[in-house]
Amino acid sequence: MALLAWIRRRLVVVFGLLTLAYLLLPNVVVTVFSFNDPVGRFNYSWHAFSTDAWSDPCGVSGLCGSLALSLQLALWATLAATVLGTLIAFALARHRFRGRGAVNSLIFLPMAMPEVVMAASLLTLFLNTGARLGFWTVLIAHITFCLSFVVTAVKARVMSMDPRLEQAAQDLYAGPAQTFLRVTLPIAWPGIAAGALLAFALSFDDFIITNFTAGSTVTFPMYVWGSAQRGTPVQINVVGTAMFLVAVLVVVVSMAVGNGRRRMQEMTRKQA
């Protein structure tokens, strides 16, 4: 009875922890198996502890090349989609032009369409235009589907922005360029950053569209998929764990920086 009462009092905490465990369990498994020394070609059952894979992450042929390619693709796709998407979002949020409604709904289409359909149609398009499948076709495809997400994220932010802020900037001697750089962009920034992060994540781990449009080029998700047919090297788990750690590190550092800045502000306030 005492135990039940204890649980009842901490129901939210208990459920929160369970949900967190459910979300993080796959990451734990990946991490644990990055230290495995498997028997045979498949890294699916625990055999013995080893740090061999960690000391030689590029030991499997093709893995690090595909990783570098994926990172490169993701960076370029993010850059292009963020710039284009931000411009589109401003146009849609700020201006009334012919076909605005159509653009507004068409921009959602790539998000709503099943990925495999989009992949097939992109492939058809590339083949009919005689494009050589490879890095460029994949990049174009990635920019296409990242664009919608960036537009959505930035548009929401721009729409919620008080137009008086820009008028205030103009009133305070800021010309159009200054107004954009000093007021509009900094305030829209969280939306742009969110869109860019989303674009990077989507591009980096995309498989279906990439698989259709890559030709003989192999990205990291394609490499993982391919090796899953023939045998999974432990290095895949190493790369996965490393990526997870980098992501966690980025979050922790950005939070620490934010907290530090806030604490600094409080300190200067107290001194003043």
Binding site: L165, Q167, A168, Q170, D171, A174, V183, I187, Q265
Partner: protein, 398 residues
Amino acid sequence: MTGTPSGGDVRLSGISRVYGDFTAVHPLDLTVPEGSFFALLGASGCGKTTTLRMIAGLEEPSTGTVHLGDQDVTRLPAYKRPVNTVFQSYALFPHLDVFENVAFGLRRRGVRSVKRQVGEMLDLVQLGEHARRKPHQLSGGQQQRVAVARALINHPRVLLLDEPLGALDLKLRRRMQLELKRIQTEVGITFIHVTHDQEEAMAMADTVAVMNAGRVEQLGAPADLYENPATTFVANFLGTSNLIEAEVVSAATDEILVRAGGDTLGVPAERCPVPAAAGTRLLVGVRPEKAALTHADETDRIPDGRNRVTGVVTEASFLGVSTQYLVNSPAGLGLAVYAQNVDRDPRLAPGAEVVLHWSRAHTFALDAAQDIDAGTETLGTADVSGTVAGTPVKEDAG
């Protein structure tokens, strides 16, 4: 319209603004003398903010010109005009702290060392210790003062205030009114203040322009507007007026006699803006605080020569300092009387027969060809607004 043009006057000539088929501001001529505190007063949607934004350069006039002194600024973009605005919602930059908000204008004009100026300005508005806070960490009153400091630091030729006190509670608003008035006297800059609060306009401004439906109804010093309203809108919007429909009996050079509901009333001829001949109709008005009530049994105690209207008390609200009565009479319904509680007559309760009387000199007349209720609808309950609001003068809820 007022004063002679000089170096720093704001001069609007034939300025108007049309949106599609809606005319927000009808062609308007207005001169705001340099160094004055000028109020544009009106209900929401009367065109006062649009007028202000045309002076700021945030709105382009459909016709007409804006002059600052001798300079025609009509085609000048907002960022090139020596004019600054305090916005209704303050429009403080959320990503900048108080210091940077205030320094914004200086930095944009290429001023290198802003520290001393910003410090002085923050001291003027008593926010020195909050320099490194973000706007959202400040109270409404503090945000308002940042907005004023951010505009004033640029030493504009004209400071435009767009309902800057609208978001504050009543007490704070009164304090900020005094504060703004003090700052204006101190810096000597022309202030143009847009507001829907008639008390605020009267308390702060040297000159008030009452706007209605895109036009200036009347312009003048607060006391002058209050004592001599030219239209029913001004009479009702600025405080409360008892307006009575009457017919002219005789018109002498010094006094006009009118009849309303069986009573004969006198109006000084110089307070009648329209030609009055026997048989024509007029609206006769008196302010509620200038009228007195006497019980019907004691009419002999009323001095001779006062205007009298007989009626029945319908409502009596005790408000401490004063009591507000509403009287129905054949001359008009819902006539208001604000009586100081010096010697309160306990018989003056609802149902009592009374005589409402006031000095003939306090009577004004208006053209009868107007809506008698114009300007009263701000509270929704036209004839009892004073009592409902619980204050002697209408408090606009807006």
